[in-house]
Symmetry: C2
Subunit: 142 residues, 2 copies
């Protein structure tokens, strides 16, 4: 099954974590989230990790592998390139500014299809694809 099109009802902990990520300006580590939620009763890492697992499964949150951190989903496109991954669309990519920590989430058909073609040609069956560009955003590169 793919992730549901409509966001599922969140549990209390999931809602707290999702809210924290939405308020944040950039990605946060699980332990940073934990610290932000201590006032709301969070005491242990597992409370955060469990919520993040579900939110990721729902496609509402993405994990940035090169940062060991998490961001709320920011994609604004229609469903496309439907596949086994993500929010019912194809692979998501991220551009991460190493100066201001801003993250841009985007989806690129051509990249997605090209990687899909490569996989097909090799008989490789993708389950999850990570694309992360580290560098400097326009503002910070100036």
């Amino acid at each position: 099954m793919n992730a549901p099109i409509v966001s599922p009802a969140l549990t209390k902990n999931q809602a707290l974590v999702f809210d924290a990520l939405n308020r944040a300006e950039g990605p946060m580590s699980a332990y940073t989230i934990l610290d932000k939620l201590r006032d709301h009763g969070f005491r242990a890492p597992l409370q955060v990790y469990r919520a993040l697992d579900k939110l990721t499964e729902f496609g509402m949150v993405h994990r940035l592998e090169s940062l060991n951190a998490f961001v709320a989903c920011a994609h604004r496109e229609h469903e496309c390139c439907g596949g086994a991954q993500g929010h019912g669309h194809g692979t998501v990519a991220f551009a991460i500014c190493e100066s201001c920590n801003q993250v841009m989430e985007f989806h690129d058909h051509k990249v997605d299809h090209q990687l899909g073609d490569w996989a097909k040609s090799k008989g490789f069956k993708p389950s999850k694809t990570t694309i992360e560009i580290r560098g400097l955003c326009e503002k910070c590169a100036a």
Copy 2:
């Protein structure tokens, strides 16, 4: 400066780590490498991390972000898509089998250029790009 075309002379520790990675069938974590090299005098994680840093800088080793692990470079292509990254070629991508842990390293012009175009259009200056496809290799998917 880009990485040198010719591999530089390696220090003793760098050579030991590189050799361990080349002998390995798949990616290894820094601590796994440490354990393999205890007989050769390695005692602390930092000895491994320092060597890995240099080898990565030389383009002889790649870090797999989604695994927190390292592989010896396996690319066999000519220099192309020259850029600020890697061994004098463009971005490298990896397909990682979650069943047998085999890793395929490849370079795809179209993907590279497409991501480069996206960056250009946004004024983003890439320093390092990570592309990792997790899934099942042909053999394991059968």
